[in-house]
Amino acid sequence: MKLAYTMSGGGPLIKQYFVGAHVTTAGIPMLQAAAGDYGLIAASVSGAANFVGVSLDTSGSGTLTTKGNTTSMSEGLTGVISVILNPSAVYKIRLAGSATTGAALVQTTNITADTNALTTTITSGDPVPNSPEMDEGTIVCIAGANVGLKRKIDSTTATTAVVEMPFPYTIAVGDIFIVTPATMFPDVKATVQLTTLLDEADASAAWSGDADIRTIGLDFDNSSTTDAKNNSWLYGVFGDSIFTN
């Protein structure tokens, strides 16, 4: 994940910390270790409590000692990681279509026209809207009359996703949508499930009780359906920073 901007408008505050366990991926959330343990640790796919900041590099691969090895200067950098500390930092997090980093989002093709422009009916084989549950998430049109428009999902069934506010144009047969658990209204859902490498958001899973990341915005690239599935982002701020609670 990448730093987009800070809500305070200030510059990034950078510090170097020791890690409690090696970190091999840059751009992932780092947390304070549990009581009695030392250093920072990487977050998990469903947890970001005691958030410190997002890493900018990796910690190396040598043997970790309690306070880092300072007898040799090259080894002295083993176990050291640079972190962005701003608690109000907004991060740009790519939406992935699975737990694998880089996976494309999966599209949903509408099979039943709706002149009320409220209901999207999936084609057989498309992701099921209620399993995992996408209620309170976001549906965006990437092909059709409503291209580029997104709505909050009000209810779901095994074959339909119904939006809260209708689209301006009829939802026609063949219109293509992307359904994500990301919400534009973080008062309802303030969690994000991360990919296995912790650097992207897993939009194929139901987000409930996961990492405390509050959505500030969603950015979908509607230049083409391929771009929409591969180049869509969530802007979020971590909610459980050790510097604010």
């Binding site: 800070t6 510059g11 170097q16 910390y17 590099d57 083993t78 050291v80």
Partner: protein
């Protein structure tokens, strides 16, 4: 007779995190050698506006990060002073992981941002 009561201090989470900070450049190391070690370890490098002109990022396979943001703040890797006009350099290999590429401007319906 007075009684002295000792109670364990309650450390805040921020204070505990501060105890995990890396000490930075050892006092007996020259700045150039220390930064060279950081380059070898592919670490992010923060330099103040006095030390930055002495570092050639391109020659070391590094690039400047966050040109769109105000200057970085933190301890300069070279002189160890806290700077509010710092410049952060990252290895080019980490560009895709941490560099912000912005939102390219395209047609009217090309991007939808909520």
């Amino acid at each position: 007779m007075s009684v002295t009561v000792l109670t364990p201090r309650q450390y805040s989470r921020a204070e505990i995190a501060k105890s995990h900070e890396a000490p930075g450049r050892p006092s007996k190391r020259l700045a150039g050698g220390w930064i060279a070690d950081n380059v070898g370890a592919q670490k992010a490098i923060l330099l103040c506006d006095f030390c930055a002109p002495k570092f050639n990022p391109r020659a070391n396979g590094y690039e400047v990060l966050w040109k769109h943001l105000p200057p970085c703040r933190g301890d300069c890797l070279g002189c160890k002073t806290f700077t509010v006009h710092g410049r952060l350099y990252i290895p080019q290999a980490l560009h895709d992981a941490v560099a912000y590429d912005g939102r390219p401007r395209r047609g009217r319906q090309a991007r939808s941002y909520a």
